[in-house]
């Protein structure tokens, strides 16, 4: 009897006012996204009209002649993020595999907490550490030896500098490591234990099991972790600004200074004089959103197509 009433009550539709409220709250996110885009487009309109599509393909950035283009910054943003990902992904997955081992001991527990704490360090502190510790270290122990040996190879050439595309990528890779490791660990832990056991029962070693079975099973989730990390890397501002060298050029070497979309906005916005200059910066903001969105959509499509492949 009591059961019946409870069921009947829970099956009743919630009052309409409540439904309206939840719908409004749910709509808030897409609406604010739309508002932000509209606002940026409106504020950036002078630059959009003045430079047209050429804004995206020009590498010029000259506030004196008012000659503006986004290409150098798009390159800087995408290059730092991709290099950071290339550096962090193997390390992150390695850490995740270690943390996900079933025989988790105390050591693993504390390492896990340590990795998660890395995510709690504010960007600006990462920036300071990068300026005072990492940049000098990278200069002396990585860039100079590499440049001395492979200086003639284009991407490694040029005079070595502490503040460079490479240093910025390196600090980014440390910053995205916790996301990669923590999410991948959870994904790997969620792989059914029967898979591991079946593989071991067929004679596979730990490595063969990990490569042949565990990682393929966790592939999609690790890919999701990568997308999350990439989102963070693309938008990261302050730590990158402090070590990338802030030169609005497409560098020919990874050890040369560069600039990212987020950094140039943060650096130049307060001192931008004139309508065209500030609207060009705002347009860069739009471009950054576009880049992030494109990456996310591409990633979603990829995830979906692999998921479909797996289900087919």
């Amino acid at each position: 009897m009591i059961r019946g009433t409870v069921l009947a009550r829970s099956r009743r539709r919630p009052p309409d006012g409540f439904r309206l409220l939840t719908a409004l709250v749910a709509l808030a996110a897409p609406i604010s996204l739309l508002l932000i885009v509209l606002l940026l487009a409106q504020q950036g309109a002078p630059a959009i009209q003045h430079y047209g599509f050429g804004f995206l393909t020009s590498r010029a950035w000259n506030p004196i002649t008012l000659d503006f283009g986004a290409l150098a910054f798009i390159f800087g943003t995408v290059a730092t993020s991709l290099i950071a990902l290339a550096l962090a992904l193997p390390v992150g997955v390695g850490v995740a595999l270690f943390l996900a081992e079933p025989s988790a001991g105390r050591l693993r527990g504390s390492i896990g907490i340590g990795v998660e704490l890395l995510a709690a360090i504010p960007s600006v502190v990462y920036g300071l550490w990068a300026v005072y510790v990492m940049a000098p270290f990278v200069l002396i122990h990585i860039e100079q030896p590499l440049a001395a040996r492979f200086g003639s190879v284009g991407v490694l050439g040029g005079p070595a500098r502490g503040t460079s595309l490479f240093t910025a990528s390196l600090v980014l890779s440390v910053m995205i490591l916790p996301t990669l490791a923590a999410v991948s660990r959870d994904v790997i832990r969620a792989v059914p234990s029967g898979l591991r056991e079946s593989s071991v029962a067929l004679g596979a070693t730990w490595w063969e099991t990990t490569w042949g079975v565990i990682l393929p099973a966790a592939r999609q989730g690790i890919f999701g972790a990568t997308v999350l990390a990439l989102g963070r890397a693309l938008g990261e501002t302050i730590a990158v600004t402090m070590v990338i060298g802030n030169r609005p050029e497409i560098p020919t070497s990874v050890f040369a200074p560069a600039y990212t979309l987020a950094s140039v906005i943060a650096n130049e916005f307060t001192e931008a004089t004139g309508q065209l200059y500030s609207s060009a910066l705002i347009e860069l903001g739009l471009v950054l959103m576009l880049v992030t969105l494109t990456v996310n959509v591409l990633a979603q499509l990829l995830v979906r197509s692999t998921a479909r492949e797996a289900r087919a």
Partner: protein, 259 residues
């Protein structure tokens, strides 16, 4: 049916520990070659534990340790370091089918590739194994499809094919039908019947009709009421064990279950 057959696995005075907990005490039995042996007994009596000693699966459990001896054709299973060879000789089928996230073909090719077989050799082994697992007609046109697209019963036959591919001598099965419907179960039982001529099969089952149907020999295990270790109560040809059990505890268990 149960003519004299040489022992394939000789278990003597086997005890097993999970850390300080003793899960098996003093088990001795000879598992006959090219026959089906069933392990029955109430939940927690150590059937899975015993089965997992035979292919050293307990290596995955930290602080687990076996005492005593299990010999496979003269190889001391509890001490060998040649695990790949042991697991090639002793295959295992689990309770839940767990296809690897690979194609049907690659699932079956997994173990042959571990052994470093050549491409042609692998291809032949895969076809033979899938055929022997009575799955060939159902999958021959879709070998490149993901294994997860098969039905539960097909997946379990794929698991069997996966371990047949490296031509094992012993096949261990831990409640292989408990996740399957009656029709799929029947297919697996038929398969076990057919494989029994060439392989030594050890099967754990909760279903005594199943034991009576498929097994030539049956071992009844029981947990000690005080110390909770598992022990072997009776091991006999299946018809004898079910029709004239010598131990009252065996009789109690099977009549309780049947009656």
């Amino acid at each position: 049916m149960e003519g004299a057959s040489p022992a394939k696995l000789e278990v003597s005075s086997l005890s097993f520990y999970y850390g300080r907990f003793r899960a098996l005490k003093d088990i001795s039995l000879d598992i006959p070659e090219n026959r089906v042996t069933a392990l029955i007994g109430p939940s927690g009596c150590g059937k899975t534990t015993l089965l997992r000693v035979f292919n050293r699966m307990y290596d995955l459990v930290s602080k687990a340790r076996a005492e005593g001896s299990v010999r496979l054709d003269g190889m001391e299973v509890t001490e060998t370091t040649r695990l790949l060879e042991l697991r090639q000789k002793v295959g295992m089928v689990f309770q839940r089918p767990s296809p690897f996230p690979l194609s049907i073909y690659d699932n079956v090719a997994f173990a042959p590739r571990l052994l470093g077989w050549r491409r042609q050799q692998v291809a032949e082994a895969v076809e033979t194994a899938i055929t022997d697992a009575a799955l060939w007609d159902e999958v021959k046109d879709r070998l490149k499809d993901p294994a997860a697209s098969l039905s539960g019963g097909q997946q379990q036959r794929l698991s069997i094919a996966r371990c047949l591919a490296v031509k094992p001598e012993v096949i261990l099965m831990d409640e292989p039908c408990s996740a399957l419907d009656p029709v799929a179960t029947l297919k697996i039982e038929d398969l076990i019947d057919r494989l029994a001529r060439q392989y030594t099969i050890v099967i754990v089952t909760h279903n005594m009709q199943q034991a009576a149907r498929v097994a030539d020999f049956t071992a009844f295990m029981l947990m000690d009421t005080d110390e909770r270790y598992g022990q072997l109560i009776e091991f006999a040809p299946t018809t004898d064990l079910f029709n004239k059990p010598t131990d009252p505890r065996t009789e109690g268990y099977i009549t309780g279950r049947f009656g």
